[in-house]
């Protein structure tokens, strides 16, 4: 074990952890904004109750996303300083723009939304949640453009004197075809999580307390969430399909690693699962769908998909001796788990809609259990998607330009990075427990009662308690 390994583990743990909160922030901010807009348009109190209820869950989650996000920005300089030196001219710009354009918008207007219920006119207050939601979604674009440069570097040149990458075309970086398709794929994945959370919580109340006066609110939330889940699952599939074809062009090794395809095939089949080893030597059983990998990779059922061996030989000739192959079991299984968990969430959403057909209220205990695990499925799918896309790029940190092992900080000792990795893992684990408990507590509490507490008559306006306070 050396500092490089620990730095990689830290990046993996902190990034996957950060991205447990981000999808909910991205998706739920918009969904809460929609609920508040519905209340604004119809005046129906159930939408206000749902806004406040899901808004509370949103904020419990939002705080975690914010604080774990600062670590991400600092980590590049702390653990990956040679990477930062190499790409800073290009990579720093989207990060700085993300902060200036998106994070300020998000955090300032979230503050206005939380504390503004009794301070702002209704319309303006509604606008604040939309501004925050737009800020959140904008931030995703800039950080994905930065990540896409690592997958498919464009708009740059290598300065022969300094050996560093220099920006030559910023528009090319922002319109990187990988970024343009990764953004909708990631956003759709985020809505998959948010929609599932809506369903899970509403279903719990519907089945546990069918006689509640708030049943219409939960019915709406379950239905709304199911549709969001289904529509976003469709969007995830369509964008994922396009992404696969772009990946086959720009990172053919990643596609080969996703399948564990050692020899170039045309047509290539897609294995749903493989029992045995993935190196082609001891394959005990594999369930294969013919033509599918060719279609996923090229759009043509008979298209050629390059195998790992050919690509390895090609890269050795191009970049010199060394292994250019990712860890196949990780890419193979993370790719399948990503797809499988995503589809499972969509299937449950269908069941929930079926359970509510023609005004029925679902009563099935099985559906309740399925609904409760539902938000975990797209969360897992998102995590495996990121593990796939980052591990599939290895051994590169910037594809074709810099190896991961060359990007690590030289001045940081093993002891230092171990301290940091341990500290983050411990504090993150503790906060995960606290956050989950709080989410469950507030999810169980249900939608709020909106009847205002009686005010003593002699209280003048200046002395009235705040509508919201920490």
């Amino acid at each position: 074990m050396d500092a490089l390994d620990v730095a990689r583990w830290q990046f993996g743990v902190t990034t996957v952890y950060h991205f447990l909160f981000v999808p909910l922030t991205i998706g739920l901010s918009i969904l809460v904004a929609i609920l508040q807009t519905l209340w604004h348009r119809t005046g129906d109190e159930k939408y206000l109750k749902l806004t406040k209820f899901y808004g509370k869950l949103f904020l419990i989650n939002f705080a975690m996303g914010v604080v774990t996000g600062i670590v991400q920005e600092f980590q590049f300089g702390m653990n990956w300083s040679d990477y930062s030196r190499f790409v800073g001219d290009i990579f720093g710009a989207p990060l700085a723009i993300e902060a200036l354009v998106a994070f300020f918008l998000e955090s300032t207007f979230i503050g206005l939304w939380i504390f503004g219920w009794d301070r702002l006119p209704k319309r303006l207050h509604l606008a604040t949640i939309w501004a925050a939601a737009i800020g959140t979604n904008l931030s995703a674009y800039f950080i994905l453009a930065a990540n896409s440069f690592m997958q498919n570097p464009v708009g740059y040149r290598i300065n022969p004197d300094t050996g560093r990458a220099e920006l030559t075309d910023f528009v090319a970086v922002l319109t990187n075809k990988v970024a343009l398709i990764t953004f909708p794929h990631t956003i759709a994945g985020a809505f998959l999580v948010a929609g599932s959370l809506l369903v899970a919580v509403a279903l719990w109340h519907l089945i546990r307390r069918p006689d509640s006066t708030d049943t219409p609110a939960y019915r709406f939330a379950a239905k709304f969430g199911s549709w969001v889940t289904l529509i976003s699952a469709t969007a995830v599939m369509i964008t994922g399909d396009i992404q696969g074809k772009i990946m086959t062009q720009v990172q053919p090794m990643k596609m080969a690693a996703a399948e564990g395809l050692y020899d170039t095939e045309s047509p290539a089949s897609f294995s749903v699962l493989t029992i045995g080893s993935l190196d082609g030597n001891r394959e005990l059983f594999a369930l294969k769908i013919p033509y599918l990998l060719s279609y996923l990779g090229t759009g043509d059922p008979n298209g050629t998909v390059s195998g790992i061996n050919d690509l390895q030989a090609q890269y050795t000739a191009q970049y010199g001796a060394g292994s250019y192959t990712p860890i196949i079991p990780i890419t193979y299984w993370s790719f399948r788990l990503m797809i499988g968990f995503g589809l499972a969430a969509a299937a449950i959403a269908l069941l929930v809609l079926w359970g509510q057909r023609r005004g029925r209220t679902p009563t099935s205990r099985w559906l309740l259990r399925a609904g409760l695990v539902m938000p975990l499925l797209p969360l897992a799918a998102n995590s495996f998607g990121w593990i796939f896309t980052e591990m599939g790029r290895q051994p590169w940190i910037v594809f074709g330009e810099m190896l991961t092992r060359d990007g690590v900080s030289r001045s940081v000792s093993l002891a230092e990075v171990l301290t940091s990795f341990t500290a983050f893992t411990l504090i993150y684990a503790a906060l995960a427990v606290i956050e989950c408990k709080l989410l469950i507590r507030y999810a169980k509490a249900g939608v709020p009662d909106l009847t205002p507490a009686p005010e003593p008559d002699d209280t003048d306006d200046a002395e009235r308690p705040l509508a919201f306070a920490y």
Binding site: I60, G77, S84, T108, Y442
Partner: protein
């Protein structure tokens, strides 16, 4: 003006904004156990910064991002070199940020007490460590010819840097007390005003000592003028606090922090991280900078968006301009 100079200025402005704004957040956090005698008072204190602390912290994220984009070498060397202090700052900011949001989510006293600790230490630690970090930037650190940090953690804990840490903590404490006096009503306001003066006098002594020491390390005429202005602003702020002119007092402490940070950056220029080891290792605004093309794009982005950000953040402070007191804290 050269693009690299503009970006040196912009990074300086972002850190200055960060220290002025999050400075009083840190001060409020450190004063939580001092001025908040019971739960309702502590809630008053937290709610003075409730709507704004998150937006204030984005100044740091933007400053870090701007440093990365405009001076990648500075960002890379500084962040990998000041590893443990930055790690502690990150851990503190995590605990503190979550604490604001979670503290009132459960009624148990033990739960709240734990988060109160997180707020206190999560404010104290960065308040000290930012001073340590910036003092070391001005003093210089051992850098190899290829700009790698060659010192250890304890290199950063020299007496000058520790004085810097004490000074920033004291400045933020005074700034926070003045802010609380400005934002609250009743008993808590009086106690905050009284405390601001007592802490403020000690702060003035520390600040004068630290700035004088700083100017003996490196100085130019502009930095000396700024340091004197910082001291005058602090004393003016304290005089205003004594006269219970709380708005002026706040302007005074805000200006003192801003001018003190400006002093350090002005004394530092054109270096961004001097080397005490190999002179070739010294990072300057020129040799640490990105290409002119990147700087030009970033300048356009900054010119367009900074005024917008300032406008809506300023508006937020206007929306939440009312003073609050225990009567405003809901029972639940």
């Amino acid at each position: 003006m050269e693009l690299t100079t503009i970006w040196f200025l912009l990074v300086a402005v972002l850190f200055t904004g960060y220290f002025i704004l999050e400075g009083f957040d840190f001060g409020v956090g450190m004063l939580l156990p001092v001025l908040g005698r019971d739960d309702r008072e502590r809630r008053v204190l937290i709610n003075t910064i409730g709507p704004v602390w998150d937006g204030n912290e984005v100044w740091l994220i933007t400053a870090g991002g701007a440093m990365f984009a405009a001076f990648p070498e500075w960002y890379a060397t500084l962040f990998s070199g000041f590893y443990l202090p930055l790690l502690l700052i990150l851990l503190a900011l995590i605990a503190r940020g979550v604490a604001f949001e979670y503290r009132h989510k459960r009624p148990e006293a033990s739960w709240k007490r734990r988060w109160d600790h997180a707020i206190f230490f999560g404010s104290l630690l960065p308040a000290v460590l930012w001073g340590v970090a910036f003092a070391n930037i001005l003093r210089g650190v051992p850098l190899t010819a290829d700009h790698e940090y060659a010192g250890g953690f304890f290199n950063l804990l020299n007496p000058y840097a520790l004085l810097g840490g004490l000074t920033t903590a004291a400045l933020f404490l005074t700034h926070g007390a003045v802010f609380i006096a400005l934002k609250t009503v009743g008993d808590i306001r009086d106690r905050a005003a009284a405390l601001a003066i007592r802490v403020g006098i000690a702060t003035a002594v520390l600040a004068v000592a630290f700035l004088t020491w700083s100017l003996t390390i490196r100085a130019n005429t502009a930095a000396i003028i700024l340091a004197v202005a910082a001291a005058v602003a602090l004393l003016g702020g304290l005089a205003a606090a004594y006269a219970r002119r709380e708005g002026w007092a706040f302007i005074g402490t805000a200006a003192a922090i801003g001018l003190a940070v400006a002093t350090l950056f002005t004394a530092l220029f054109p270096n961004v991280l001097p080397s005490t080891l190999d002179a070739a290792g010294t990072l300057t605004a020129t040799n640490a900078a990105s290409t002119p093309y990147t700087l030009k794009i970033m300048t356009w982005v900054a010119v367009i968006f900074t005024p917008i950000v300032l406008a809506y953040q300023g508006w937020t402070y206007w929306v939440f301009r009312k003073r609050i007191g225990v009567a405003h804290i809901p029972r639940h």
